[in-house]
């Protein structure tokens, strides 16, 4: 007989294909009913009616909507997401190219955000009401409220144009273009695999600024959440007991209090990472970063529906995967939900 824990896991796992199906269905329907003719993206504004009709037939747009969806679904289960009009490549190839760029940026950003955001959140909670707390609150408030394009432009202006200590927009110097073979699509990793240290340092240098800008936004969120969780926890009776027992302040804070909020932070961290992986359009635009956010936006504006569906699916799968992961970790780490 299945344990409740296994049952819950099975239910969570079963919800994944249903959610994905719903996501594909809704995106497909939005794509078909939005007021842009997808044929225009292919044949242009000048094409005569017979060429438009011919392409409409080729795309299967003359079929009823449910037939179109069925055909799309049939191809999808075989891993065929169709071809992008804007890039001329298959959507799978595009995702293989664009998603790692976003992944590299998001991973760097979330690492920086976590390393900075969590400790300063804890510090702000411990020093509640002090000057340190106020300074941290102002910094995190700015991270939350400043538009990201302003941050990005200020960053470029200061570190790239004025101090000249950071490289400009782009993933790498044009001198290194195509110097390392693509294996993972993560330029820093691929350059290490190829043993090209110069390319690695260049890629890392190009990564720091956009990742830093994105990280500031996520860091602010993580710090504020950490502070709130910690304040809540520090009021707990078990903390008073721990202090009364004469435990060192560091042990009380990091082992007892932080240990208690770690589970909730994992969820926040996972969702923040998933949010970054969906593609940060504005950061990608300012830093000329060829990521999924830019790809999705350009595809959407050009009614390139295969690309939109493919990219949305990747975003959806990412979200689901991280949700599932957070859920599993939650169950694993929190004895109350076992």
């Amino acid at each position: 007989m299945a344990t409740p824990r296994l049952k819950a896991l099975a239910a969570t796992a079963a919800s994944v294909p249903i959610t994905l199906f719903g996501l594909v269905l809704v995106t497909f329907l939005i794509g078909r009913v939005m007021p842009i003719d997808p044929v225009l993206a292919i044949v242009g504004d000048r094409a005569p009616a017979d060429v438009v009709a011919q392409v409409r037939l080729e795309l299967g747009l003359d079929e009823p909507l449910y037939v179109q969806f069925w055909i799309y679904l049939g191809k999808l289960v075989q891993g065929d997401l169709g071809r992008s009009v804007m890039t001329s490549h298959t959507v799978v190839d595009d995702i293989i190219r664009f998603f790692p760029a976003t992944m590299e940026l998001a991973t760097a950003a979330i690492i920086i955000a976590a390393l900075l955001g969590i400790p300063i959140g804890v510090l702000a909670a411990v020093k509640q009401g002090s000057r340190i707390d106020h300074v941290i609150r102002v910094i995190t408030l700015a991270g939350h409220s400043l538009p990201i394009f302003v941050l990005a432009l200020i960053s470029l202006l200061v570190f790239y144009a004025t101090l000249e200590i950071a490289p400009g927009p782009g993933r790498q110097n044009i001198l290194f273009d195509d110097m390392v073979p693509t294996i993972t699509g993560l330029l820093t990793v691929d350059s290490l695999i190829a043993g090209e240290w110069e390319v690695f340092w260049d890629a890392l240098a190009h990564l720091v600024q956009p990742a830093g800008v994105l990280a500031y936004f996520s860091m602010a969120y993580l710090a504020r959440m950490t502070r709130a969780f910690m304040l809540d926890t520090l009021k707990g009776e078990f903390i008073i007991t721990a202090r009364a027992k004469g435990l060192s302040p560091a042990r009380v804070i990091w082992k007892h209090a932080f240990g208690n909020i770690a589970v909730r932070l994992i969820t926040i961290l996972a969702l923040a990472y998933a949010g970054l992986l969906e593609g940060a359009v504005i950061t990608e635009t300012v830093f000329s970063w060829p990521g999924l956010g830019q790809y999705l936006t350009i595809s959407l504006l050009n009614a390139d529906m295969n690309a939109v569906l493919g990219a949305t699916l990747v975003v959806g799968v990412t979200y689901l995967a991280f949700n599932l992961l957070a859920d599993l970790l939650y169950r694993l780490l929190d004895p109350r939900v076992r």
């Binding site: 225009l40 993206a41 242009g44 011919q54 273009d177 000329s288 060829p290």
Partner: protein, 535 residues
């Protein structure tokens, strides 16, 4: 095609925020390799680099650098046609047969000679593939069934192009000078053909031409890299041209300043002004073929009244809008043939005259005005311009509701004739006045399922006289008579059409002071990099 300066509000805001800072910043030392020209440009409009398919602005520019055509407009005097791959050509007495003799000694990038067979194959391929630009060639009667008969190589150096109906020879030649008339190397293309695609799949990201460059790579939304063609007779100066995809104009400006790019192609008016005053930069500008216009759907009973159409044309403050909103990037243009093209006229019949406009409205039986919607692109400068027009029309009692949309969304509504009025842009397809005369005047079949959805059709406007005269003009062999026909057509078009022509775009490139030999080509002709060098 999208307009050259249709920037999103986001990009506009970026620039507005950043420009004050940049004005004080100096230029750093150039960091790009001396033999590589790095161009900062938004290149996400490219959908293919195959000349039989590329029809967007950036793709067209790349094709122009990698291929040659039989004939081209003379860059120094575009009203004259000169041979590029063709040494000479003859037109038969009946005007139906064009015989081209190929120049000897021209080779493709592969080193193989360019032959008449390659040229015939290239034109046939464009027709057979039937992609977006195919209509430029198939309007002469060629189709996939007869193309091998009407376009054929009759010898190693001789190509004959037979047209169905006599038209002005210059019209045929200008059409052959379009990107889709580029000559590709048959052997290379067919070697890479798959499933009867005439090599289209491979050519989307490759090249097989005789131009000064070859395509090394195209990474969508990232870069296009062109390498010098070692077999080009043009003695190409740079070894490489690197197009770097930079959407944000402020990022373009910063990278130009820091020397990470040599040429910036999409700066905004304020940035251009700052660059003009900075000795570290050089500028190149040229009239663009894009014309911005306001159109009125004749299905609307109010807008169908001639006096209302004229009232709207007299209510707009053309000069005020140009000076205040687009001082560097657009000029006032009130006729459909763009400045710089054969048949262009300098007439400016309309200026803001509120009293006259109100009188015309009263004459139309609408003294208190009326309400209407105005569709437009949501990017700049369209957004600001339509707001100014909205204010102008309010002065004569016309209450305008603005309907902003993404470009393709607006065009979808426009092609379905669902708009009331709209402000849009139009660029030429080939270097002959017929390209605009046809679309702004001709509407033979006004049915909803008409084959040819010209701009006249999209506004449900039929003027048989102008339609017939436009068709007659394209058949006129005498260039001087033809030119006068277009001038007369435009003057009548001013008075009778539902189009208020507004502005013609100006293209700008800003380059670092060490860059020499680069100039933007006018009216969508080829902008090339083969003579661009860095000191």
């Amino acid at each position: 095609m999208s307009g050259p300066a249709q920037l999103g509000r986001r990009a506009f805001t970026f620039a507005a925020t950043a420009t004050p800072f940049f004005s004080f910043a100096g230029a750093a030392e150039a960091a790009t390799p001396k033999d590589t020209v790095v161009v900062g440009k938004a290149i996400d409009d490219i959908i293919s680099l195959d000349p039989a398919e590329a029809f967007e602005f950036s793709g067209g520019e790349v094709v122009g650098n990698c291929y040659e055509r039989l004939v081209v407009p003379n860059p120094a005097n575009p009203s004259q046609i000169i041979g590029e791959l063709a040494e000479k050509w003859e037109v038969s007495a009946d005007g139906l047969s064009f015989t081209f003799t190929m120049k000897p000694g021209v080779t493709f990038a592969s080193g193989a000679p360019v032959t008449a067979e390659d040229a015939a194959f290239s034109l046939q391929r464009t027709i057979k593939l039937n992609k977006a630009p195919a209509f430029i060639l198939n309007q002469f009667g060629a189709n996939k069934d007869n193309v091998e008969t009407v376009i054929r190589a009759t010898g190693p150096n001789t190509l004959v192009f037979t047209i169905k109906e006599k038209v002005a020879p210059t019209f045929v030649l200008y059409c052959l000078s379009a990107n889709c008339g580029s000559v590709v190397e048959k052997a290379v293309v067919m070697k890479n053909a798959r499933d009867g695609d005439f090599g289209n799949g491979w050519m989307k990201t490759g090249s097989a031409g005789s131009g000064p460059f070859t395509v090394r790579s195209w990474k969508a939304s990232e870069s296009v890299i062109l390498d010098a063609n070692p077999n080009s007779a043009l003695k190409t100066k740079p070894k490489r041209v690197f197009y770097k995809h930079i959407v944000d104009p402020s990022a373009q400006q910063l990278q130009l300043q820091q020397g990470d790019i040599d040429i910036a192609r999409d700066l905004l008016p304020d940035q251009l002004k700052a660059a003009q005053a900075n000795a570290n930069y050089k500028m190149s500008s040229a009239p663009h073929s894009y014309i911005m216009y306001l159109c009125m759907n004749q299905k609307d009973p109010n807008l169908a009244k001639p006096q209302v159409r004229q009232a709207i044309k007299w209510a707009i403050d053309y000069d005020g809008i140009q000076k205040n909103i687009v001082p560097t990037t657009y000029d006032v243009q009130q006729s459909f043939v763009p400045k710089g093209m054969m048949g262009a006229i300098a007439d400016r019949p309309f200026k803001k005259d509120v009293a006259k406009a109100k009188a015309l409205l009263a004459e139309a039986g609408l003294p208190n005005g009326f309400e209407m919607t105005l569709d437009h692109y949501n990017g700049q400068p369209h957004g600001d311009i339509v707001q100014a027009i909205q204010a102008n029309l309010a002065e004569i009692g016309i209450k305008v509701s603005l309907m902003a949309g993404e470009q393709r969304q607006v065009i979808t509504r426009y092609r379905a004739r669902q708009h009331q009025a709209a402000v849009l842009s139009w660029g030429i397809d080939y270097f002959d006045p017929n390209t605009n005369s046809e679309t702004f005047c001709v509407n033979i079949d006004n049915a909803d399922d008409a084959r040819n959805k010209t701009l006249a059709w999209r506004n449900s406007w039929q003027d048989k006289d102008l339609s017939d005269r436009s068709i007659a003009a394209v058949k006129e062999s005498d260039a001087k008579v033809r030119e006068k026909m277009y001038a007369d057509l435009q003057r009548d078009h001013h008075m009778r059409s539902p189009f208020a022509l507004l502005f013609q775009a100006t293209g700008w490139a800003v380059m670092r002071k060490n860059v020499a030999g680069f100039a933007l080509a006018p009216l969508g002709l080829r902008t090339r990099y083969d003579q661009t060098a860095k000191a």
